[in-house]
């Protein structure tokens, strides 16, 4: 921390004295580099933090630059009001570019955004208002506090100020809840939706952020160069910015900024060999994705594996789970229905994964779902949690109809789940995984980022306290700053349960929680599930480990080929003839040792 502060102070000091050391032309190059740095931060946020491929950012840059240019030259506005309107226009353009994100996924998004950028380019190249290919010239340089900023030296300080603010805001955003949710969405959008993240809105916000930074860069560009033409907003500019962010490291704020500065400088040095420069950065992009996907920022960690361990991570490891001291009381189940599914049918092309499935789970029960692989158990979870809407049938959770609702809405109604194949946010450390789920606010809470940052800071403190409680309870404090994939499989399973519980559910869906666990871990798991129920959470459990099912569950339902073949108390179901024959005459089914699901064998 102290070293980081020293580094920041040294960078600021160097940035302050830099103009005293430069002659006029290098100063201009630096001014341009800072503008690219702003663009790179915007792309870092959309691509690196939120995982959205946004190739329309150059259009936002252009919208702002052209708006500033036209308002100052045609409408007689001063630079500052024009620039503010330019940034707002770019923000609006970002929002518009993000609208397709409500419906379509990454690949489509990439191309739709590129299509919009090309359409914008076509517009400004052909419209007489924007001066066609000649562009708009004669944009007045701004002045502030009596200083004439037409000097590139003074303009540098204006840019440096904006860039500094931009860096601080980006860092603040990334480290707090909005950014954390975006990172969660980037890593696994299904899991993010299942803990309540409103993925479509987050995507739109990601595009808007790209628009905001693009807008700032555009207005500054208009003020610096005094001239805007289609060539400055072309697709190759977009790809240039993409190269900066990829080579610098898309997940790293510092990497993106450094990438922008270095590539701008390199392009300037190679101005007489532009095609070779392009060849070079094309090669670098290809080399980056193959050999160093985290770019320059990822290299130190790669070279020295020890650096990847963050401070405080060394201690502890996972603690044994300590069950709650209060003995389990068998009589906390009420008469309330926690979950009801009626006549659920779901097909995948020709295969009917679920055929007219109905079940009722009383609040306070631990309810087991068993059946051979491919019998529709996970599909039922996907239907309940909103990942696959059913073709027919109705799902109610605590009396509320949730049929066909989005996962994030179902999460808000108090349903949490885990996944058969583990869906942790793999670039987030354990604590961030938990924090992302602790956050129960809607996306609209985020207005505070613009108007009341102190509220964000306070909210963050509360979140951290809640997360610390969850981490402590599940024995994960010792691994809180480690990346889940660096931990043993059993620990990852426990983190996933902790994450689901961090969302404060009333109904918890566990998909094969014992798969891949060793016997002592299974023992701990049984304690965890009992404690969860004691806290008043209804548990539905898909499991192949019959010992666990028999000892934990109040009722069991058996699936075969998408149909329910038995339901009732575990002992009754175990002796049901239909159940026995579904398991191909294996009469010892319920004595069989725990089986490892085929999906886990692949891990």
């Amino acid at each position: 921390m102290k070293r980081r502060l020293v580094l920041i102070a040294a960078t600021l000091a160097a940035a302050y004295v830099l103009p005293y050391r430069l002659s006029a032309y290098p100063m201009q190059v630096v001014d341009i580099a800072l503008i690219f740095a702003l663009l790179a931060i915007g792309l870092h946020l959309t691509l690196g933090i939120a995982g959205q491929i946004n190739l329309a950012q150059v259009a936002c840059f252009g919208v702002s630059a052209y708006t500033t240019a036209l308002l100052t030259t045609h409408a007689g506005l001063g630079f500052w009001p024009a620039a503010v309107l330019g940034v707002l226009a770019a923000l609006a353009a970002g929002l518009i570019a993000g609208i397709p994100a409500l419906r379509v996924q990454s690949h489509y998004l990439g191309i739709v955004s590129l299509g919009l950028a090309i359409a914008f380019l076509g517009l400004v190249s052909n419209s007489t208002l924007t001066g066609g290919s000649d562009g708009v010239s004669g944009i007045p340089a701004p002045s502030a506090f009596g200083l004439d900023l037409s000097s590139n030296y003074l303009y540098y300080y204006l840019e440096a100020l904006v860039l500094f603010a931009g860096i601080c805001f980006a860092a603040f955003l990334t480290r707090t809840r909005l950014g954390r949710r975006m990172r969660a969405m980037r890593d696994d959008q299904l899991a993010a939706a299942s803990i309540g993240a409103e993925v479509p809105y987050l995507r739109i916000i990601a595009f808007a952020l790209g628009g905001l930074y693009g807008g700032l860069a555009g207005a500054l560009y208009a003020g610096l160069i005094g001239f805007v033409a289609p060539a400055s907003v072309s697709i190759s500019v977009m790809f240039f910015v993409l190269a900066m962010v990829m080579i610098g490291g898309r997940h790293s704020l510092a990497g993106s900024v450094v990438g922008a500065l270095v590539l701008t400088a390199a392009r300037e040095l190679l101005l007489n060999a532009a095609a070779y420069a392009q060849l070079g950065y094309g090669l670098l992009v290809v080399a980056t994705v193959i050999a160093a996907p985290d770019g320059l920022a990822g290299l130190p960690g790669k070279a020295v594996p020890a650096l990847r361990r963050r401070g405080g991570a060394a201690g502890g490891g996972v603690a044994r789970y300590v069950p709650q001291p209060v003995p389990d009381q068998p009589d906390h189940r009420g008469t309330v229905t926690a979950l009801q599914a009626e006549g659920i049918t779901r097909r995948f092309r020709g295969v009917t994964a679920l055929h007219d499935v109905s079940l009722t789970v009383r609040a306070g029960d631990i309810y087991g779902i068993v059946g051979p692989n491919g019998s529709g158990k996970t599909t039922l979870f996907n239907v309940i949690s909103g990942l696959h809407p059913p073709e027919r049938g109705r799902v109610t959770v605590f009396g509320r109809d949730v049929t066909g609702a989005r996962p994030q809405k179902i999460s808000r109604l108090g349903v949490a789940r885990t996944f058969q194949n583990l869906r942790l946010f793999h670039r987030l450390d354990t604590r961030d995984n938990i924090l992302a789920a602790c956050d129960r606010t809607r996306t609209r809470w985020s207005w505070r980022y613009l108007l009341w940052p102190a509220g964000v800071v306070r909210g963050e403190r509360e979140l951290r306290a809640a997360a610390a409680g969850i981490l402590g309870r599940y024995g994960l404090t010792g691994v809180s700053r480690l990346i889940p994939s660096s931990l043993p499989y059993g620990t990852q399973r426990r983190i996933e349960i902790a994450r689901a519980m961090a969302a404060q559910p009333r109904l918890l869906l566990l998909d094969e929680p014992a798969a891949g666990l060793n016997p002592s871990e299974i023992g701990e798991l049984a304690g965890i599930i009992r404690d969860i129920r004691r806290d008043g959470v209804t548990v539905v459990l898909i499991e192949h480990n019959m010992g666990l099912v028999m000892s934990l569950c109040d009722r069991v339902i058996v699936f075969d080929a998408g149909r329910v073949i038995a339901e009732g108390p575990p002992e009754a179901v175990a002796n049901d003839a239909a159940v026995v024959s579904a398991y191909l005459g294996d009469s010892n089914l319920f004595d069989a040792p725990s089986e490892v699901g085929d999906n886990d064998a692949r891990q």
């Binding site: 995982g51 491929i53 609208i99 397709p100 409500l102 419906r103 379509v104 996924q105 990454s106 690949h107 489509y108 990439g110 191309i111 739709v112 590129l114 299509g115 919009l116 090309i118 359409a119 914008f120 076509g122 517009l123 052909n126 419209s127 299904l190 697709i235 190759s236 790809f239 993409l242 190269a243 990829m246 095609a275 070779y276 392009q278 060849l279 950065y281 094309g282 090669l283 670098l284 992009v285 290809v286 980056t288 994705v289 193959i290 996907p293 995948f348 092309r349 996970t378 979870f381 996907n382 949690s385 990942l387 696959h388 996944f419 058969q420 869906r423 998909d511």
Partner: protein, 289 residues
């Protein structure tokens, strides 16, 4: 009527080129789930090779096209080989890798052919011929015929040959296909080579109707991509229908909106994508939990 039919045939001619580009996008996408952003630049390279062979080396048009197809197919193989470590692992990264290759190919084109473009003359004569009282450009008909032949060839390969069956299997289930002994890498390479070949065909055919320069890839590539989405990405018949539809859309909007036709076309496209993201023939993609 005359204007309408001419716009129609011209639109179909462009549409056939877009359909070829869209088929190239789709064949790679359906096999490995990847959108090849370098595809447009492969179109451009193909156009340059054919233009050079036809205009500078004075080879017959058919031979020039063939050379372009073979050379660009080789480029497709190189791209696939370099990006293979990312296959079936990180598609977003791979996608950015193809953007990197696009940047690279554009630079190579500038280094070889310079910044000025090439005008290519029509191989079949520029005077319109009269069919049923309507004048049409013979070259438009040639484009449509060649594109139809290429589509038939792709259809035959995918549905009637063993290689095609292997490619379908990899597309349907990568792990299962690998498990039964299909060389998925070879299938992917094949898809890339065919995709690049189709791109080269599209580029060489576009030469005489457009001006060949280094931005050709961006314009045709984007339109072909839009066409592929319109038809349902990865769906070969969809790519053809989408390509023709896009050609007609931009043909008619150029007639009515002139300079802002790009904008009109892409706004129309964006609206279609928002209403029906999976395109006309696309199956909804299923998220597996």
């Amino acid at each position: 009527m005359q204007v309408f039919v001419q716009t129609l045939v011209g639109g179909l001619g462009f549409g056939a080129i877009y359909a070829l580009v869209a088929m190239g996008f789709s064949i790679v996408y359906r096999t490995m789930g990847l959108v090849n952003f370098a595809h447009g630049d492969i179109v451009m390279i193909g156009a340059f090779i054919a233009a050079t062979a036809f205009m500078s080396s004075r080879l017959p048009f058919a031979l020039a096209v063939l050379i372009a197809i073979v050379l660009t197919a080789a480029i497709g193989l190189v791209i696939e080989r370099v990006l293979r470590p990312l296959e079936h692992r990180d598609l977003d990264l791979m996608l950015i890798g193809t953007i990197g290759f696009g940047i690279l190919l554009e630079a190579i084109a500038t280094l070889i052919w310079g910044a000025t473009g090439r005008a290519v003359r029509t191989p079949v004569g520029a005077s319109p011929i009269k069919i049923a009282g309507i004048y049409v450009q013979p070259y438009d008909l040639l484009i449509i015929a060649l594109a139809a032949a290429a589509a038939a060839g792709v259809w035959y390969l995918l549905t009637r040959t063993k290689t095609g069956a292997a490619m379908q299997a990899v597309a349907a289930d990568y792990e299962a296909a690998t498990a039964v002994g299909i060389n998925a890498g070879r299938s992917n390479a094949m898809a890339f080579a065919i995709g690049a070949g189709l791109a080269a065909l599209a580029g060489s055919l576009a030469g005489p109707v457009l001006y060949v320069n280094e931005s050709l890839g961006a314009t045709i590539g984007i339109s072909g991509f839009a066409a592929a989405i319109l038809g349902g990405f990865g769906n070969i018949p969809g790519a053809i229908v989408g390509g023709l539809a896009f050609g007609l859309l931009s043909g008619f909007s150029a007639g009515y909106f002139h300079g802002s036709s790009d904008l009109v076309t892409f706004v129309a496209f964006a609206i279609v994508v928002m209403i029906r993201p999976t395109g006309i023939f696309g199956e909804s993609t299923v998220n597996r939990a």
